[in-house]
Subunit: 222 residues, 2 copies
Amino acid sequence: MTRILLVEDDERIAADIAATLAAQGYIADLEADGEEAWFRGDTEDYAAVILDLGLPGMDGLSILKRRRGNGRNMPVVVLTARGAWSERVEGIDAGADDYLPKPFQMEELIARLRSVLRRHAGQASSLTTIGELSVDERKMRVAVRGVPLNLSSLEYRLITYLVRNRDRVVPQHELIEHVYASDAEPDSNALEVLEGRVRRKIGRDLIETRRGSGYSMKEPEA
Amino acid sequence: MTRILLVEDDERIAADIAATLAAQGYIADLEADGEEAWFRGDTEDYAAVILDLGLPGMDGLSILKRRRGNGRNMPVVVLTARGAWSERVEGIDAGADDYLPKPFQMEELIARLRSVLRRHAGQASSLTTIGELSVDERKMRVAVRGVPLNLSSLEYRLITYLVRNRDRVVPQHELIEHVYASDAEPDSNALEVLEGRVRRKIGRDLIETRRGSGYSMKEPEA
DNA sequence: CGCCCCCTGTCAGCTTGTTGTCAGGTTCAA
DNA sequence: TTGAACCTGACAACAAGCTGACAGGGGGCG
């Protein structure tokens, strides 16, 4: 059975989500208080956690961090207020598995939840290889030619998103949304800088720039 | 035409589903035996699979996993016995695209099937070929005789528009509208220049000029 | 508390690809 | 034959993307 811990203080939103989850066959335990949520997440066994970062009492971030501290390792989908910039990066650092800026579509939430569950429970499928690059999403490991790489969280998110969508061209705005879990800042070449840093680590020619369109992983020709 | 592979051993249910599918315009191939189903799913081409997990002979889960193992990637809607939660979780891991606990309403099944098909269609690698030219809209890649081309975004837009409308002559003003975002510039031979650049890359005789009317892709005679 | 290191955004300058313009040439249809 | 439609190579302006340097902030550790 699939139990989900839902940490959300806004009653209306919480009810919505809970209903949707139920309709999809998940069992949702609702928790509005951060402290309490942390306790429950630590003692009971959930398949995943949906966590709103805008909590009173104890902020979601601390939960995330503490969660990481002990052995437990359930996947976490984080809900953030749109544009809460500082929360984003920190949250990513703290180890969220996926992000969803509010407001969002319920289908979107379900989709992410599914993918997070699948990835987490993942078997052999969590290891993806493209040429000499291998990505193990379960272990959060990226290696080139077998040599493990030291990636920051943003770099890791960039790679995994590209790898997951390796069969198409990912527009930069989409990449930004997923890497930073929110809409882009107006003018900033942050993504390009990140792109460059990643390239320096994994090799210059694995990510292809499609000028005017986006980026895509370059599959080695068979 | 949309063919669905229906893997279900209960004859009554199978007949029900098959009838419903037929009524909705799908063509359903029924298969009661798991082993056999796996074989068919692997050799024939279906738009989707409806799979009952409670199969004798070979359990549905193995089919799912094997399916993921090889290249094939048709969407799968899984039917589970009520409350068979463990199956469900495993199923998710194995890569089912949607679930339906028994008993269910036929409308519900159709709805899920539709949504799964729709979702999947968005990911299909849409590959069009005209003679030696192949256009993969998903990867945004154009190749001639298997050799991938380096096209700018305008060039790419030009080609795809022509390819999409290969069965008619596209007037230049229409081409301009679609290649450039709306408003055409008054007098300028920009399009002709673009046209030339594209031709130089894909081969001089693939695009035919209809003097005074427009352009059209030249289909090789069969 | 203070130090240091890592992460990451900003900035400025640079490189390179893209694209419209133009001038002249070529083709085609009447 | 003639004029309009179309093609082409060259060029210059522009924009997209890349890079190295730098600084602020946070976390870890003594």
